[in-house]
Symmetry: C2
Subunit: 273 residues, 2 copies
């Protein structure tokens, strides 16, 4: 392994795409509109950062890709469900997602609501299909990360503070829950399912937390919101550099096996979209 | 055990209430409004039919109540989430639920949407907290029963056929998915977690399917919809009597241990609310 290689990246991406495609319900099966909406929400592009991080962490601990592939896809389904519900009229009312009509813009509000519910449910179904207690632990961590004290809680907190001036501690808490917890649990679960030691799982979980934070800061710098507003662009850039270094430091014990995750962190730090 | 006893019924109900109360997030914990909405949705009354069926099936196979209590509560959380999302403006737009303001009427649409998402997630979290492969199997069955080919699928199908005349096979399919699958998985999971044999689990799963169907027919007779409309009141009553007999027949091998489930079936057949 010589670290990041665009071809390796593309190969992993193709496998994720193919597995998602086979795990999602067939659009010719009843109820068709629901199934079309579920597939549309998941298969309409997206960078697949979360499954790639899951598989990257699995690889860092010398695990087999197959051990974490279902979890990787389940985590992408969860990400997709959260976008579908976030875009709904009562939430952000976004009509465009990834350059295309959002799920409710295309299928209507009711179908989008149900497609989100069905994707979240499907994710847990996929996680339950691999036997053994490891997947039960993964379900526990994931359900914590995306529930009332994680992703959904962060969303609720964000709405509670809408229109109010956010100080940095509140902003950090909202982001750590709303987007950070799901990203962090990807590397935690990937390392765990790849049979990493307790110590390795903790390191990669911390790496995931840094990467989640980095992702948000870069987002905020691009659209001038959140951190960019609270800290100023210059300070936000410095913060991003610092967080990137912290993320990479967690990878040191993994040697060349951690290069893939290092390159993902660099990609997230420098992405322009 | 001498079958149904109102005091026993009340005792089980109290334990379910207390366990739900302790499993749900504290309302003084942040994000408070979300937690208030989650508790409101679950703890505002309800007959607790689903957890009672779960514990009844566990008891029928001589299982310990504690083995199925978490699953019983998770299944009630799932039922509550489905009601919260069903009541939303884009769905049935119901402002009243159990004689009180529905969740979105009280907390607003966004909080209700998120509370539903959080309750579904919490249910899987609760199911993951008991170790062992039995709970992984329970998660698989439950996620099948409430997903795109189960409860959510039934909801989608119902909407697809809205305003169209329903023939009996379609009506049966909608009901089997929309409300029947969740009720049936309660007895399946209760019997399984109570360490019933494969044969016992199958019998009690079939019992659950009949009871779910019975529940719907009685509902329809009360409000003149669905089966009552498709079959006529008289025929629907005859169908209910037949289904009740089929449900009870599944209980014969369980002897006195099955009396509690027999009495629940009678209660469902004769309920007036």
């Amino acid at each position: 392994m010589k670290g990041f290689h665009p071809r390796h990246f593309r190969l992993v991406g193709k496998k994720i795409e193919a597995t998602l495609c086979s795990l999602l319900p067939n659009e010719n099966d009843s109820p068709r509109v629901l199934h079309q909406a579920m597939r549309y929400a998941v298969l309409s592009g997206g960078k697949r950062i979360r499954p790639i991080l899951t598989l990257g962490a699995c690889q860092a601990v010398s695990g087999k890709q197959a051990d974490a592939m279902f979890a990787a896809c389940a985590l992408e389904m969860i990400h997709s469900y959260s976008l579908v519900h976030d875009d709904l009229p009562c939430m952000d009312n976004d009509m465009i997602r990834r350059g295309k009509p959002s799920c409710h813009a295309k299928f209507g509000e009711v179908t989008a609501l149900l497609a989100g519910d069905a994707l979240l449910t499907k994710a847990f179904n996929v996680l339950s299909h691999k036997g053994g207690s490891k997947h039960l632990q993964a379900i526990q961590w994931i359900s914590e990360a995306i529930g009332n004290k994680g992703m959904v809680g962060g969303q609720a907190l964000d709405i509670q503070f809408q229109g109010k001036k956010l100080d940095l501690p509140i902003l950090r808490q909202i982001n750590a829950n709303k987007s950070g917890a799901l990203i962090a649990v990807c590397t935690r679960v990937g390392a765990y399912l790849g049979c990493g030691t307790k110590h390795q799982v903790s390191s990669l979980h911390r790496y995931g937390k840094y990467v989640g934070l980095l992702f948000q800061i870069v987002d905020d710098i691009m659209d001038g919101q959140g951190y960019a507003r609270a800290l100023g662009i210059q300070k936000a850039r410095e913060e991003a550099t610092l967080i990137l270094a912290k993320a990479k430091r967690e990878l040191l014990p993994f040697g060349t096996r951690g290069h893939f995750l290092k390159d993902i962190a660099d990609f997230i730090a420098t992405r322009k979209y």
